[in-house]
């Protein structure tokens, strides 16, 4: 195994271990997602057909908002205790290390969200047949979302009360993900062919993997100056 892979593996292992030692923080975004999706039937109506109509929108807006919560913690502690500076000084490509960090963030935030979305969807009267499609679309969409979040989190390191600013920076850029993600989920619920929106989500993920770590590394370097 080459050095670069070894370094990435160490970063991911470290992040996962730290996250599991502090499980509460891991659960907060998921709880938030669960609560937001619970509020909709209460505010709208418990009628299944109406809930099913709004299910894709509820799932995706909830997923976007709860992953904003998770993104806030992406770099915060590592910036405070100097880990990010050590990464930057390590002689390894900061781009690569931040990519590894984003991977672990997706494993800790995006994937659990995808696995939880069927529960929320079931609460919104979606039939069980649609669940694999829903999991797939949320999992694929959150890849690009994590990468996008890494850039805006890098830009807002060290800003006091950066949470509102973080949403102002991230959400407009996440509009395409919302459109195609919700479309993919809607097709899954209708039982239609979801290939086209899934291809778009995949394309965004590839584009994000190619460009976002570069921008995130530049942002982190600037924030640490």
């Amino acid at each position: 195994m080459s050095d670069a892979w070894q370094a990435a593996k160490l970063v991911i292992e470290r992040d996962l271990r730290l996250a599991f030692r502090n499980r509460g923080q891991l659960l907060h975004p998921l709880l938030f997602f669960a609560i937001v999706t619970t509020l909709f039937p209460l505010a709208l109506s418990p009628e299944p057909s109406r809930l099913r109509d709004v299910a894709p929108a509820v799932l995706w807006v909830g997923a976007l908002l709860s992953s904003l919560l998770a993104i806030e913690f992406l770099f915060r502690e590592d910036a405070q205790d100097g880990t990010l500076e050590q990464y930057a000084l390590s002689g390894r490509s900061l781009t690569w290390l931040l990519f590894a960090k984003t991977v672990s963030h997706w494993l800790l935030a995006g994937l659990p969200l995808a696995l939880m979305s069927p529960v929320a969807a079931y609460g919104l009267a979606v039939s069980p047949d649609a669940m694999p499609g829903i999991i797939g679309s949320v999992a694929l969409g959150t890849i690009a979302l994590s990468l996008l979040g890494a850039v805006s989190a890098g830009l807002t390191i060290g800003i006091k009360r950066g949470g509102a600013l973080l949403s102002l920076l991230t959400l407009p850029l996440a509009v395409p993900l919302l459109i195609f993600g919700a479309q993919a989920t809607a097709r899954a619920i209708e039982g239609g062919n979801m290939a086209a929106p899934m291809y778009f989500l995949g394309a965004f993920a590839v584009l994000g993997i190619t460009l976002a770590p570069l921008a995130a590394a530049a942002a982190v370097r600037i924030s640490m100056e």
Binding site: S152, L155, I159, P172, L173, P176, I179, F204, A219, E225
Partner: protein, 245 residues
């Protein structure tokens, strides 16, 4: 190749002086062209056979929409130059583009809404191009917000430059994603291959307005950039000399 002409742009006093000299060369033609375009558009052009006189708002709407995108491109280009060559004045130019671009975006949205009320029967519809324009406004506000949230001016310059460049990659994606909904917006009538679908008496004032607004944008940007440079260099001696004059 001799690059000194390029590096001289990096000197704040040089650019301050140059911007001051250039401003009237853009501002006066802009004023004349906009007046001519308005007269041509509001008085000379015939009313539209379907929309009557309502179509005339296009003479303000279309150039504003065009500049809202162009200002963003300029901002990102200036930000990239500032990031790559570490040129302080380029960041000053980028910073001065943002509010102008944001206001052109607001102008495009407002004129579009005024036109939409009689034509579509409502001020706002979730039409792709309106939505894209609204997202563009949010991008401008995010850029301005990030800039004002970071206290250290150099860090603010560089961080917002990264954001502007990320935004420029994303703007076309946002634009084409929202195109996926069915559009009820007017199909583009000027930027079409082949023959434009509007007649020459209507088109000529519009083209004049496009040129006039672009010149207006450059003039506004030069004025703002001068102010921005003065504010940033307020500790230096040449500024106190300029102000004393």
């Amino acid at each position: 190749m001799d690059w000194t002409w390029f590096h001289r742009f990096g000197s704040p006093p040089h650019l301050y002086g140059l911007a001051g000299k250039l401003t009237p060369w853009f501002a006066w033609p802009a004023a004349l062209l906009i007046l001519a375009g308005l007269y041509g558009g509001l008085a000379l052009a015939p009313p539209d056979y379907q929309q009557g006189d309502g179509f005339r708002i296009i003479y303000v709407h279309a150039p504003s929409a065009w500049l809202s995108l162009m200002a963003y491109t300029w901002m990102a280009a200036a930000a990239a130059i500032g990031l790559v060559w570490r040129m302080k004045v380029a960041h000053a130019v980028a910073a001065s583009c943002a509010p102008i671009g944001a206001w052109f975006t607001v102008a495009a949205l407002c004129t579009g809404m005024l036109w939409g009320k009689p034509m579509w029967g409502t001020y706002w519809v979730w039409d792709p191009r309106l939505t894209a324009e609204l997202v563009l406004l949010f991008l401008y506000l995010g850029y301005i917000g990030l800039r004002s949230a970071i206290e250290d001016p150099q860090r603010a310059d560089r961080a917002s430059a990264v954001l502007a460049i990320v935004g420029v990659v994303n703007v076309p994606i946002v634009r084409y994603s929202v195109e996926w909904w069915n559009s009820i917006h007017q199909a583009p009538s000027v930027m079409k291959f082949g023959k434009p679908s509007i007649s020459w008496p209507m088109l000529t004032p519009l083209l004049i307005m496009f040129v006039g607004f672009t010149l207006l944008f450059v003039a506004l940007m030069l004025v703002r950039a001068r102010g921005e440079i003065l504010r940033r260099e307020r500790q230096s001696r040449w500024v106190s000399e300029v102000v004393a004059q």
